[in-house]
């Protein structure tokens, strides 16, 4: 087992009678990209805010970088970086001034700040734009700069709260490349997201719903552990009618729509392809294609939420 970077024991946060985070426990190893996956309001931001010291936990404890978040918040703060969905740089300070300020706040020496500035500029891809105001930068660059600013003091752990909200897909990809580089260099990355495709980049994931962790593991583990039934991808012209027909059949466990396709999970004792063909034929519905696929995280997520008795949209 690798060195533990974050450890949470029964972390709970209540706002009045509402329990935002309910008895959450997990641990994160050093150098890991650890994802917290959940819908809006599921409690992932509240968890990250407790870990970073922005919120006091109602009960439970957690250690970050070996320090207790409630008893040694100063020690924790020295060792973490934080970046939130909101773009948190000063809009009226230039790129260089922002870097200098945030470096200074963390107590870096001038020499160190100069060194880290070069790194940050390069990391954010902003060579030659040191004197620009952040408002003049495209969204993706702002995000990278914010991350670089959160990393100036070379923290052991970086917390990213929905870091890619509102960024286009290409920049999102580049952003994740950056996260991977950081992790390879030994930084622990704790990231929350509601993008299922992003969750695939994580080493390990926790699925959180209504303040509780409902599943955890690597993306691969999640897919194989929680979905044992074969999943078929079905292509048909009349998606809705097909879905209704399929979900009424007792041999079929779950049916969900993915764009113009259907994902159908069939109880293991039956032959998957035969079941689909027979159901659709019985309802006079065309079938263009039906093939077995490796389930995606979205399948896992929908499956788990179904089990929780929730019929909400995953993303």
């Amino acid at each position: 087992m690798q060195k533990v970077s974050i450890e949470a024991h029964s972390l709970t946060k209540r706002f009045g009678s509402f329990t935002a985070v309910d008895d959450v426990s997990f641990s994160v190893a050093k150098g890991e990209i650890f994802g917290f996956l959940g819908a809006n309001g599921s409690g992932k931001s509240t968890t990250i805010r407790m870990l970073t010291g922005l919120l006091q936990s109602t009960s439970g404890t957690a250690t970050v970088a070996g320090y207790d978040i409630n008893k040694q918040p100063e020690q924790v703060k020295m060792r973490i970086g934080y970046m939130s969905q909101k773009f948190s740089l000063y809009a009226d300070l230039t790129v260089a001034e922002n870097i200098r300020f945030w470096g200074g706040i963390y107590g870096l020496t001038d020499a160190k700040i100069a060194e880290r500035r070069a790194w940050a500029i390069q990391t954010a891809g902003l060579e030659g734009r040191e004197a620009s105001l952040p408002s003049a930068l495209p969204g993706g660059f702002k995000q990278r700069l914010a991350l670089a600013c959160a990393m100036l003091h070379e923290p052991e752990i970086v917390f990213l709260d929905e870091p890619t909200g509102g960024v286009d897909p290409i920049m999102r990809r580049r952003f994740w490349d950056l996260i991977r580089q950081l992790a390879e260099a030994g930084t622990t990355v704790f990231v929350t997201t509601h993008y299922l495709d992003e969750a695939e980049y994580c080493n390990r994931l926790m699925l959180i719903h209504a303040g509780r962790i409902i599943a955890g593991g690597s993306p691969q583990e999640l897919k194989t552990q929680y979905i044992q039934n074969p999943v078929m991808e079905v292509e048909t012209d009349r998606v809705i009618e097909a879905m209704n027909a399929l979900s009424d059949d007792p041999r079929i466990e779950e049916t969900s729509v993915f764009g113009t396709l259907l994902h159908v999970s069939i109880k293991p004792e039956y032959n998957a392809e035969d079941v689909i063909k027979s159901v659709l034929a019985a309802h006079n519905l065309p079938l263009h294609r039906a093939e077995r696929i490796v389930p995606s995280l979205e399948d896992v997520f929908i499956h788990l939420l179904d089990q929780q008795g929730v019929t909400s949209d995953a993303s």
């Binding site: 970073t52 010291g53 922005l54 919120l55 006091q56 100063e74 703060k77 020295m78 973490i80 934080y82 970046m83 939130s84 909101k86 773009f87 948190s88 740089l89 000063y90 809009a91 009226d92 300070l93 001034e97 200098r100 300020f101 945030w102 200074g104 706040i105 963390y106 107590g107 959160a150 917390f159």
Partner: protein, 376 residues
């Protein structure tokens, strides 16, 4: 400790980039100084009068001349019918109307009571009450003279009127200019405007944009953030008070009778209180609009009206006077007027200074605790 230098540098960089800064620091105070200095004038040195003389006798002219010569009652018009008075008063062209009855001269000569009626527009009560006092005094003076003269004419020899004459000497503001009262107070107003709203806005803005959150996850201490935020506004406040002071002395010729050092030190003390109030407003507001509304309607307007800026506290009912003890501006007004107009020193002003100290410590502690609690 170096963190605070970085915070200060950041605050000043931001301040320098703020496009509104010149307007806030310079134009606002200067504009107010000019408006209050020139437009607001509560001096009651004249009460415009109309005269309805139904008698047109020697005596009535003599009587009217007494009013004219007093200097208080410039006569704006003579009317011949009582009905015309109404229009002048309604239109506000005159504040007092004197009607002299027919037979005034004849009755005076015969020693019978002659009727004179004064109609005063009471809507502007301060001018009205002053007008009433002086009119009364003039009439009584005339009465006395006529009476004694009458006896003299009837051959009883000249009795010299004996009188108790008040010799009124006005201290501190001999020309009785309302400006001299209002303008020193303006110093306090300007300070409050420059600090309360700006402080609250600057903090709430960081909350809105998320940078406050970003600051809190760093090892920076709360007090460092607070000091960093408050420092620029302290300096703005000091610049403003120097500016206003220069305007008051040079432009309006109101000299500072007391010690400038005391004035400066106590202004700084007052700035601490207003910064504390600004900080407090920021802890009860989550958007800039809320902060502005709160600062405006719950802090500035009541303070304006209840601290004795224009309307003296001593004229207010007891209950409101008690409320005014809760307002730091009240104490600062007393301090600043004491120093500027009366040349008072700490030996006289210490109760006010003590109140301000208590207030400053109280509000700063309260806001800092709330600020910290809100964030943690």
């Amino acid at each position: 400790m170096r963190a605070i230098l970085h915070i200060l540098r950041k605050e000043f960089l931001q301040l320098r980039r703020d496009p509104n800064i010149v307007r806030l620091i310079f134009i606002g105070p200067i504009a107010q100084l000019l408006i209050f200095g020139f437009a607001i004038n509560l001096d009651v040195n004249s009460v415009p009068m109309i005269v309805c003389d139904l008698d047109h006798s020697l005596q009535s002219h003599d009587f009217i001349a007494r009013f004219e010569n007093s200097g208080y009652f410039p006569i704006v018009a003579y009317v011949d019918r009582i009905g015309d008075i109404d229009d002048y008063l309604q239109r506000g062209k005159a504040s007092i109307a004197i009607t002299i009855s027919r037979e005034f001269g004849r009755k005076i000569a015969k020693g019978e009571p002659a009727q004179v009626q004064a109609i005063v527009d009471g809507s502007e009560s301060s001018a009205a009450s002053v007008g009433i006092s002086y009119a009364q005094a003039i009439v009584a003076g005339y009465s006395q003279q006529v009476m004694l003269a009458g006896f003299a004419r009837r051959g009883f020899g000249m009795l010299r009127p004996i009188s108790v004459e008040p010799e009124i000497r006005v201290w501190y503001n001999p020309d009785l200019r309302s400006r001299n009262y209002i303008l020193p107070g303006l110093l306090g107003m300007i300070l409050m405007q420059a600090t309360v709203v700006l402080t609250a806005l600057a903090i709430v803005k960081e909350k809105e944009t998320g940078t406050m959150e970003q600051l809190i996850v760093t090892p920076v201490k709360t007090w460092q953030i607070i000091i960093g935020k408050l420092a620029p506004f302290t300096i703005i406040g000091i610049i403003d008070i120097l500016l206003a002071l220069a305007g008051i002395t040079l432009l309006f010729g109101i000299p500072v009778r007391g010690s400038l050092v005391t004035l400066g030190g106590l202004s700084a003390l007052f700035i601490l209180t207003t910064l504390g109030i600004g900080l407090f407003v920021s802890t009860v507001s989550s958007t800039q609009q809320q902060a502005m509304m709160t600062a405006m309607f719950f802090v500035m307007l009541p303070m304006n009206f209840l601290s004795g800026f224009i309307f003296p506290i001593e004229n207010m009912p007891k209950l409101i006077q008690l409320v005014s003890y809760l307002l730091p501006l009240r104490y600062f007004f007393e301090i600043i007027r004491g120093i500027v107009l009366r040349g008072a020193g700490l030996d006289v002003l210490w109760p006010q200074v003590l109140a301000l100290v208590v207030f400053a410590v109280g509000i700063l502690t309260l806001s800092a605790v709330r600020f910290k609690k809100k964030l943690a």
